[in-house]
Amino acid sequence: MTLPLPVPAADRPLVRIVIVGHVDHGKSTLIGRLLHETGGIPAQKIEQLKAMSARRGMPFEWSFLLDSLQAERDQGITIDTSQIRFQTPSRDIILIDAPGHAEFLRNMITGAAQADAALLLIDAAEGVRDQTRRHGYLLHLLGVKQVTVVVNKMDRVGFDEAAFRAIESEITAYLADLGVRASAVIPISAREGDGVSVRGERTPWYDGPTVLEALDGFEPARAPQDLALRLPVQAVYKFDDRRIVAGRIETGSLKVGEEIVFQPSGKTAVVKTIESWPVPAAGKEKALLNAGAAAAITLDREIFVERGEIVSTPASRPHAARRLRVRLFWLADEPLETGTVVIARLATSESRATVAAVHEVVDPGHLSTFESKSIGRNQVGEVELVLSRPIAADPHGLNPRTGRVALELGGRIAGGGLVISVLDGEATRAEPRNITPVSSAMTEEERVGRFGHEGAVVWLTGLSGSGKSTLARALERRLFHRGGMATLLDGDTLRAGLNSDLGFSDADRAENNRRLAEVANFLKNLGHIVLVAAVSPSAAARGKVRAIVGERFFEVHVATPLDVCEARDPKGLYAKARAGEIRGFTGIDAPYEAPAAPELVIENDKLDPSAGVDRLEAMLAQAGVFRRPFSAGDDAGL
C-alpha cells in the first residue's frame, strides 16, 4: 500500500516571522494564543505550563512556552531569542520570539535577522514607545521588508477606536519615513483572544485581517535569483586530485562553460564542472546552480584564489573596496569611534578595518541624526571604514547579500550594517590641498651642537628573525649613552598603531614602507639618527624609501640565512606560516628581494651583536654623520 505523504510533500511555503516590540507589550501571550488556537501545542505541554505557573502562584502564563530558561520564568522576562513552529491554513511558520528588553538587543537582532517578515507589537494603553521605534528601525536595517503592526491589549482601552487610530497613524508615519509599508495594523487582545485567529467582535469598526490571516499572507524571502551572480568563496578543497572552489550562491545563477571573475584578485576562469556527491551518473551532472545552492565547482585553469573572494560574471562584478561607508547598529559595551579597529566580515571575507570617521548617529526615536564622535552601545549610526586590504563589496542598494557587513570586536560580533557606498583603493588618498608645512624653530647647527651628530636614517632590512630589531636596539642604546639622539622605529611597533589599518598585501607593505620613510625622514630633519627595523622585502619599495629620505640614508642588509631565522623563530611566525595560518609570509610563500647595493651587509649569524653595532657605528662615522667625536661615555649598555 502506498500511503499519501502528508505535510512534507505539500507545497506549503515556510515563512520565518519574528515578533518584536517593547518589553511587556505582550509578545509571549500573543505567541501562546496563536499556537493554542492553531492547535500547535500538545496537551502534555499545556499541563506542564499549568504546573509551572501554579508553582509560582500565577494564573496560566503563556510566556513559559518559549521562556524555557529557569531565569526567564523566575524573572518573567525573555532573555534570549527562541523559535517555535506552527501552521496557518496555507503556511508553515517558524515563529521567532525576540526579547524586547533593551539589555538584550543583541539577542533581538540575532532573532530578527533570520526573519522573512515581522510582527511589531504595541501596547494599546502605552502607545508607541522608544523601543517600538528602535525595533522598527532595526527591522529596516536588517532588511526585513514585510511588517505587520499589532496593537495589543485593546481590552485595556475599552476597544476604543480613537485610541487605536492614533497609534495606527503614528506608527505608519514612522515606518513610512523608513521606507517600510505596514501591510496591516491590527487591533487585538491576545489575552482574551480578540483578533488573533477569531475576528474581534468588540472591534466592529475594524475590517482588516486577523493576525492569523496576516501571517498567512507573508512570503518567504528567497535568495534573489534575478540579481547578478555572487558566489563568495568559502574554501578551496583539493580532493581526489581535483581543485574545488566551494561556496554558496548568494544571488543569481551559475552555469557550466561560463566565464567568471574572482574579486578582489581580478582573476578569471571558465567553470569546467559542477561537482556533487553522491556522484551523479554519467550525463546526469548538473550544469546550472541557482541562488541559495551550495556550490562546488572546478575551473578550466589552475589559478590561485582564496576564501573571501567573490565570484561574478565579468560584466557585473562587485567593487574591490578599500573604503566602505556603512550604516550600522552597534552592540558592544565599548563605543565605536574614530580609530577603533574592528574585523569587518562581508560574506566570507574578513579584513581588519579602522573607523576613519563617524559621520552621524541616528536617534531612532525621532529619526533625527546628530553629530557625535562615537556610536555607543545599542545605537545606530553611519561610519567610514578603511580596510587593511581590499575586499569585494556591493552597495546594499545593488545587492543586499554582498552589501552588508558584520563587525567583530575582540573576537565577538559586535555590530553590523548596510554598505551605503563603496570606494575603491585609488580614491582613498587625500589630495595635499590647503597644507602649509611649518619648519622647526631650531637650526641644524643648534641640533648638531646639542646631539653631536647630524640626522640620518639607518634602514635595516632582512627576513623576520634575522636580528634587525636586536641590532637597532643595541645601536640605539650605544648612541644614547654617548649623548646622541637615536630613535628606534620598529616595523611591528608602528603596525600596532600608526599603521594598524595595513595588512600584508604587496600594496599594504609598500604603504607601510612609505609611512615609515615619511616618519623617519621627518625625525631625521629634526636631527635624530633614526633606526628603522622593517622586513621591507620589496626592492622597489625600498627604492621609494631612499627617494623620500634623500641624503644620509643607509640601507643595511641584515643577511641572516632563512634556515637560521626559522630555527630562531622568536615570534613563532615561521611555525604559523608553515602550518598555513599566515599567508604571504616573507621567505616562506612570499619573496624577499635582497638589496643589490646596500650601504652595509651584516651577516648576523657570523657576528656577535656588539661587533654588528661596531660596524654600524663605523659606517655612520665614515659617512661624516658625526661632526664631533663622541665622548667615550658610559658603554654599560653593551
Binding site: Q44, A235, R248, V279, A293, A294, A406
Partner: protein, 268 residues
C-alpha cells in the same frame, strides 16, 4: 511554488554552508556521532559538503549502555563510510553530581566523557546534531555556540549571530559547539532520510506496537506506542502526533529544569 524537495534542498544547503564555515575557521574539529537518525543525517551532509569525504574525526562518546543494534550500526557504517572513528568511554556513575535526579545523573556521564575526549584530542570545535524543535532550551541555541573551559554553556551571555556570520574566536582551552542541523525538524530528518536513502537503526520502526522516537542509553530511553513500521508511516505519524519527541527520555522530565541544568553543564 515551493515543493517539499525545494524545502529539503534549502535545509541541506544551509547545513553545508555551516559545515564549510566551521571547517574553514576551526583548526581541530570533530563530529559527534550518537548513531541516531540526526547524527546519521549529519554525516551524510558532511559528505555532501566535502564531496564524499569526512575530513575530520568522528567521535562516539560511549556510555557503554547503548542498544546492541546501535553498536552493530556503528561498526558497520564506520567502515563503510570510511570514517576516522574514535570511540571514547564515559566515566562511571559514582563520579557524577549526586544532587542530580537519577536519570539526569546517568545522562551527565556523557558530559563528563565529552570533557575527557576534548582534553585528550584537543578539539576546538565539536559538531553536534541538536535541533531547535527537540527541546525548548535547544531552541535558544546559536549555530556556533561558544563553550567555557568546563564545557559550560553561558546561556545568559550568548554572542550575537546574524546573516550567517558566526563567532569562532575562543579563549585558549575553550571550545565551540557547531550545530549544522539546528534549523531542521524531526519531520525534515525523516523526509530527508527517505529521499537520500540514508541507513537507519531498525529500533526506530514499530515492533509489537512500540518504537523508539529518540535513541539514548538503553536504561533511560523508552519506546513509545506506535504502529509505524516504515519511514512513510513515521512521516504520517509525525504529522498528527501530539506526543513530544523526547517523551521517552527520562532525564528530561525529572525536574522542571533538569535538562537545562544538564545543558548548562555541557550536555548536548
Amino acid at each position: 511554488m515551493a515543493t517539499a524537495d525545494d524545502r529539503l534542498d534549502e535545509l541541506e544547503a544551509q547545513s553545508i554552508y555551516i559545515f564549510r564555515e566551521a571547517f574553514a575557521r576551526m583548526k581541530r574539529m570533530a563530529l559527534l556521532w550518537s548513531l541516531g537518525k540526526d547524527s546519521n543525517v549529519m554525516i551524510w551532509l558532511a559528505r555532501k559538503a566535502f564531496l564524499g569525504h569526512v575530513p575530520f574525526p568522528v567521535l562516539h562518546v560511549d556510555t557503554g549502555k547503548k542498544f546492541k543494534e546501535m553498536y552493530a550500526f556503528r561498526d558497520h557504517y564506520g567502515k563503510e563510510w570510511n570514517l576516522d572513528l574514535r570511540v571514547d568511554p564515559c566515566p562511571p556513575l559514582e563520579q557524577m553530581d549526586p544532587t542530580l535526579p537519577p536519570a539526569t545523573r546517568s545522562a551527565a556521564r556523557k558530559t563528563e566523557g565529552l570533557k575527557l575526549a576534548l582534553e585528550k584530542y584537543g578539539f576546538d570545535a565539536l559538531v553536534a546534531g541538536i535541533r531547535r524543535d527537540e527541546e525548548a532550551t535547544r531552541a535558544k541555541e546559536r549555530v556556533f555556540s561558544p563553550r567555557g573551559l568546563e564545557g559550560d554553556w553561558n546561556v545568559r551571555e550568548q554572542p550575537p549571530e546574524f546573516w550567517d556570520h558566526f563567532n569562532a574566536t575562543l579563549p585558549a582551552g575553550a571550545h565551540l559547539r557547531v550545530h549544522p542541523i539546528l534549523h531542521w525538524t524531526e519531520l525534515d530528518i525523516w523526509a530527508y532520510t527517505k529521499r537520500e536513502g540514508i541507513p537507519v537503526i531498525p529500533l526506530y520502526f514499530s515492533k509489537d506496537g512500540k518504537r523508539y522516537r529518540s535513541l539514548g542509553d538503553e536504561d533511560i530511553t523508552f519506546p513509545v506506542r506506535s504502529d509505524a513500521a516504515t519511514i512513510d508511516e513515521i512521516l504520517m505519524e509525525l504529522a498528527t502526533t501530539k506526543v513530544p519527541e523526547r517523551s521517552g527520555r527520562a532525564m528530561d522530565h525529572e525536574a522542571e529544569d533538569s535538562f537545562e541544568r544538564l545543558r548548562v553543564a555541557g550536555y548536548l
